[in-house]
Each structure stands twice: as C-alpha cells, then as structure tokens.
Assembly symmetry: C2
Homo-oligomer: 237 residues x 2
Amino acid sequence: MATTTRRTQRGAPSLSRERIIDAAIALLDAGGEDGLTFRALAQALATGAGAIYWHVADKDDLLDAACDAIVAATTAAAVDGATARARIRAIGLGMFDAIDAHPWVGTELARSPAKMPMVRILESLGRQVQASGVPERALWTATSTLLNYILGLAGQNAANRRLARERGLDSRDGYLDSVATMWAQLDAEEYAFTRSMGARLRAHDDREDFVVGIDLILDGIGMACPADAGGMPAKRR
Amino acid sequence: MATTTRRTQRGAPSLSRERIIDAAIALLDAGGEDGLTFRALAQALATGAGAIYWHVADKDDLLDAACDAIVAATTAAAVDGATARARIRAIGLGMFDAIDAHPWVGTELARSPAKMPMVRILESLGRQVQASGVPERALWTATSTLLNYILGLAGQNAANRRLARERGLDSRDGYLDSVATMWAQLDAEEYAFTRSMGARLRAHDDREDFVVGIDLILDGIGMACPADAGGMPAKRR
DNA sequence: ACCTGAACACCGTTCAAGT
DNA sequence: ACCTGAACACCGTTCAAGT
C-alpha cells in the first residue's frame, strides 16, 4: 500500500493485525502454504520476526485470521438468488471460486473446524436450508451433509492445485492428464471402474460438477426443485 | 514383530520399507501428525535417520504409504452387504471407523488426491454405484459426490481429534462442549441458525449422522431404497 | 506500548564415509 | 547393497534489550 509510508512518517504504529493479515494473504497467494513464513512476512513488512508476535498469537492464529478474511468476504457476497436452492448454489459457488483463487483456504478449512470461518459457512447454508422448508429434525443432517461435501471438494481442489504447482504443471489440463495417465496404468480388472472414468476426468469441468453434486444433495434432502411442477424431489437427472 | 529379532541375527537387512511403514503408523497413532519425525522413527527402529531414506523417498512418500496401508485394509474388508446401498454404507462406515482409529489418515487423504488411497476408495464406491443401476452419464457425479462427502467428513473428524488432543481434552464430550459453548456466545441475530444447533451438536452421534448423510446422497442419486416398495427414491426422512 | 534481532530447539534432507 | 551420523539449510517461537 502506498499509504503505509506516510503513516510511518507520522509515528503511528507501523504494524497492525490487519496489515499483517493482508501481507500473509499475499504471501499465501503467491507461494502456497509454504510461502508463509515469519521471516518472509517480516521482510515483506520491513520489520523483525518477533514484532509480528505482538499482534498475532502464533502461526495458527495468523492462518485462521487470513482464512477468515477470505471466507467472511465470500459469505457476505453470496446473497443473490430467487429461491433458497439458488442461494445455496450461490454460497457453494462462492466458496468454490474463493478456493480457486486462494487454494490454501481449502487446506486451512480442513485444519480448523469449529472456528469462525466454518461457523460462517454453516450459518449461511443453514439459513437457506431452513428457509427452504426442510423440517426441523432434518435440518442438522441436511446442512452438515452439504457442508461436508463442500469442505471435501474444497480440500481436494486445494491439494490438486498444490501438487500441480509442486510438479511445475501450471496448466490444469497438464495435471489432469498426468492423473488420467496414472489411472490408465492401473490393473484392468482390479480398477475397472477408475479406468473407465479416465475420459471423464480429462473432460470434466470442476465447477459444473460441483453444482451438480450440490443439486444432487438438495434432491436427497427433498428440497423442491424450481424446474419441477409439483415441488416434489427430482427423481432422476 | 517377534520374527524381526531372528531376522536380524541372520544378517538379513534389518530395515525394510514394510518395517518403516509399520513404525511410522505406530508413531502417528501415538502422537498424531507431529509424532512422525525422521529422528523419532530412526530411534524407534534403532537406526540412523539417513538409513530410512534408502527405503523411502521422502516424508510425503512415507505418509502416503502409511495412509495407503490403512485404506487398503479398510476397502478390502468392506465387502459385506446384501444390496449395493448396504455395501456403500459399509465402505463409508469402514472409512469412518478407520479414521476414528487413525485420525491422521483423514488429514493425509485431504493432502494427497490422485494417489493410491484415493483410487481405492473411488473404485470401491464406483463399483457399487454402478451395480445399483445408476445410468452411465450420472456415474461420475454420483460417485464423486459420495467421495467428496466422505473426504470432507474425514477431514473434519481428523481435525477435531487433533484439536481435542492439543487442548488436552481427551473426552469427545468435553471437546464438543467447548465448541457448543463457543457457539452459544455468538451474536444472537447474526448467528441464529448456528446457535439453534448447539443442543444438536452436544447430543449428536457422528457415526449415525454420517450414515444419514450417505443415505441422503443416495436418495439424491435416485438409488432404490430397500425399505421402499417400488424402488423409487425416498421422498422425505 | 511497541519493536528489534539474536538465540533456541527443533525440522527434513543430504552426503561423505563406513561395512 | 545397505547403513551411519554429522552437517546444512531451514523452521516457529522466545526474550532480553532497546525506543
């Protein structure tokens, strides 16, 4: 930020929790989870490593705060949609895109349940599931199934991005290709199903498949599908 | 193993990939992901840290192999069930119990997609989804939705166990209690849904909820429910 | 109150040297 | 072929000392 220099001139504290979190996010985006180091952070902020500990408890605290900054912005933005179903899709897609832009968020979500980021997602989803008319006793199961699905996919996406980066395969296609090739070398009998999915793996669109999965769970919950006439669950897709 | 001593006496190689993996699993079970260290491993095997690198590429390789040993045993054991639906439940529960016994497996699965452990689960699930009569074009989505749900829950369970351990809360109840207490302190309006789920959180049974989630997804897939007369998807639970 | 930066106790990994 | 263990290049975290 250009304002930082001026602020420092005036003698106001040069460091703040917010500046530290912003710098941490920048490092994480640039270099993945390995990119965030107290030494790198200190250098980026032109300070000593120890100074950071005045504003932040430890690395876990910093990671949580960075993750929460992304998740809070995402859940706050995902409010569009005419129906509850559409709004649930929007929340899911918001998380998908956020993790696409910041893969480390997917890893961090898997590491820190029961913290604020998770509560935000739970609250957003739960409200919409409730609004859709799911009966009281099914609310918890329905919402946590959705949440676990989203988290599972988030973790996988994050890990895939990390592996692609480590192997120097920048393009998503190159990475999927290498996985499909590995699948093709599996035993033909023992891994018949996996092998048969190779073509699908190469061709598939993560984001599209993600929404189909959400819809499938919503069907299972028994939530009315807007395309349906009578509001009964869709039978097949 | 008792035979190890004898083997060493005969001058056969004292170290093997298998022995290393077994020792790694023991360390991971005893001390979580932090418990596995090349130094601790070397000490447990009464050898030098460098010797391990003759049998194992690096820590990632070791972690993958340890994870795969657990997952392979789990998928191989989960073959029971009269219907495809029952067999899918068995696979899911097998993974649930394996991660309950070895929480680090949940973390590792989130870290290494497209490796053998994941392929094993994908294959087991996919075969049963296929056997249940899900149409060809829906196979990929149905299977990967199930897989992502299982992985998401696996990761959360693993993280919860790790946090409970770190905070010294051995009992599961104590940990859930601390989370529920945190939820109760949230803003009453902004987090109305989460707060309303506090009682459910304290009372719920992870394992039972897990199966309900699987059933819910299977309903969404449109898989026949054995309890149903006509084989149509259940409408409500 | 806030910052500095050297120091501590660890890591994973490598590698010359041994057998 | 297999093992040893010291050494290297890192970590997160602490803490006396400064302003």
